[in-house]
């Protein structure tokens, strides 16, 4: 979780078991509805193993998923 998503979640990293990106979002929404809603917000991107993913994708067991709000720039 980066930027405001990390502040909203109250954590930056955690281990979650999920088979797909959409499944992961569902699990996170179940844990925290406000976070789940923010993950679907405008401009929020997901990266799987450091590559941007649009739409859904299958997750390998040790996949690293990042949720990124609009980038601030340097």
């Amino acid at each position: 979780m980066f930027g405001r998503l990390g502040d909203l979640a109250g954590w930056r990293e955690r281990d979650v078991a999920a088979d797909t990106l959409s499944g992961l979002k569902e699990i996170l929404t179940g844990l925290d509805a406000a976070l789940g809603s923010a993950l679907k917000g405008v401009g929020v991107q997901a990266a799987v193993d450091r590559a941007i993913v649009r739409g859904d994708t299958v997750l390998a067991p040790d996949a690293e998923v990042a949720f990124m709000p609009p980038m601030s720039g340097g």
């Binding site: 980066f2 990390g6 601030s72 720039g73």
Partner: protein, 147 residues
Amino acid sequence: MIRIVDHVLDPGAELTRFCANRSVTGAVTSFVGLARGEEGMPALELQAYAGFTEGAINGFVEDASRRFDLQDVHIVHRVGAIRTGEAIVLVFTAAAHRRAAMEACDYLMDHLKSRAPLWKKGADGAWIEPTARDHNDLARWNRDGEA
């Protein structure tokens, strides 16, 4: 060539290293972005995504190298909590002639400021998004029709 670091930067020491042992370079341009704010106070906090952020910045460097006749580029970006007066970003470019060095430095800063995967929190605790000024600066490079 591209480093993301969480400690205080030393722009002078980096410039000394970048200028050393050059015989075909006529021009070195550098840009130092400093944190503005109240003296001695925390000014902002930056987050990067290790590996991902460097990859995106490396893409800007590759674009700049295609576009300008560059010999060398060095970028250091600070992350973490940054106090007023401390350097946030250093961009150094080297070329045979000054126009290429200057335009590449300008190009890289415009892209870093608006497109780098970095998340910035101001001294007031609010997360910041790129400004209209940043988007205008970036748009200058697309006026010749390049994507």
